[in-house]
């Protein structure tokens, strides 16, 4: 009967250090990971002086101080904005977004997103903004 007593001892590897390390890694990734998804939206500001452009070859969308979207002084809903921007895109007009001084970035992003959804991908921000 050949019996090696050391074979028994070698099987008992201590798992405790391994668990320690794995726990540390787990805590690290739990604390350091972020789960929100980020997107990117290009912000293009109008080039040069806006006076050069004649009205009629672009659709001017105004965001007022309350964050409402207006086309020709009339408050429009998101759906109306999408339709108007899509029509402008078909007519070869560009879309210019003019933001009032107190309009928040979120309002601007919402408007740009609606314009983008209509298929117009080259909306620009008016340099001076709405008065």
């Amino acid at each position: 009967m050949r019996f090696d007593p050391s074979a028994r001892k070698r099987r008992k590897v201590s798992l405790t250090p391994l668990i320690d390390v794995v726990f540390l890694l787990l805590v690290f990734f739990m604390l350091a990971s972020r789960f929100d998804i980020e997107g990117a939206l290009p912000l293009v500001v109008q080039a040069g002086s806006p006076q050069a452009a004649t009205p009629g070859d672009f659709l001017r969308v105004v965001i007022d101080d309350e964050g409402e979207t207006r086309i020709d002084e009339r408050i429009v809903s998101t759906a109306e904005l999408v339709t108007a921007a899509a029509r402008a895109g078909r007519d070869g007009q560009s879309v210019v977004v003019a933001a009032a001084p107190d309009a928040t970035l979120q309002a601007i992003v919402d408007t740009l997103e609606a314009v983008e959804r209509s298929g117009v991908s080259d909306a620009v921000l008016e340099r001076q903004g709405a008065p």
């Binding site: 794995v22 990734f29 929100d36 990117a40 939206l41 912000l43 080039a47 107190d102 992003v109």
Partner: protein, 128 residues
């Protein structure tokens, strides 16, 4: 002699299921989360529902703008005048607070345009 035999199996508690679960959790957090540097300033990104989930490109410098109008560029606070001097030949990534008013944002964008920054990508947080 009998109780000595009983005590032995109880001492070696089985930790293998525990390790299995911990490993699964570890792999879950490693795969689902992304490691990103923390924001330079306290920011709440604007939200979007559609748009491409194109995660912002790596290597593009980040310009942060918080709701108080403070501008942070590569861990350094910038004044309005210094914005004209920054160089970003590949464009930059703008991380701005959702409450930044247009009266702060539009002049900054105009300045970046004058500084010769070819492309400004606004980073948004996507919600469903």
């Amino acid at each position: 002699m009998k109780f000595a035999a009983q005590r032995r199996p109880r001492r070696s508690e089985n930790v293998v299921p525990l390790i299995n679960v911990v490993f699964l959790l570890l792999i879950f957090f490693m795969l689902t989360g992304t490691l990103r540097p923390p924001e330079a300033t306290l920011l709440e990104l604007p939200t979007t529902t559609t748009g491409d989930a194109a995660h912002p490109e790596r290597g593009v410098p980040v310009l942060a703008l918080d709701s108080l109008g403070r501008i942070v560029w590569e861990d350094r606070m910038l004044s309005q005048a210094e914005v004209l001097e920054l160089s970003a030949p590949q464009g930059l990534e703008l991380r701005a607070d959702r409450d930044v008013p247009a009266r702060v944002l539009l002049p900054l964008l105009a300045q970046l345009d004058e500084a010769g920054v070819p492309r400004v990508e606004l980073v948004t947080r996507r919600v469903r």
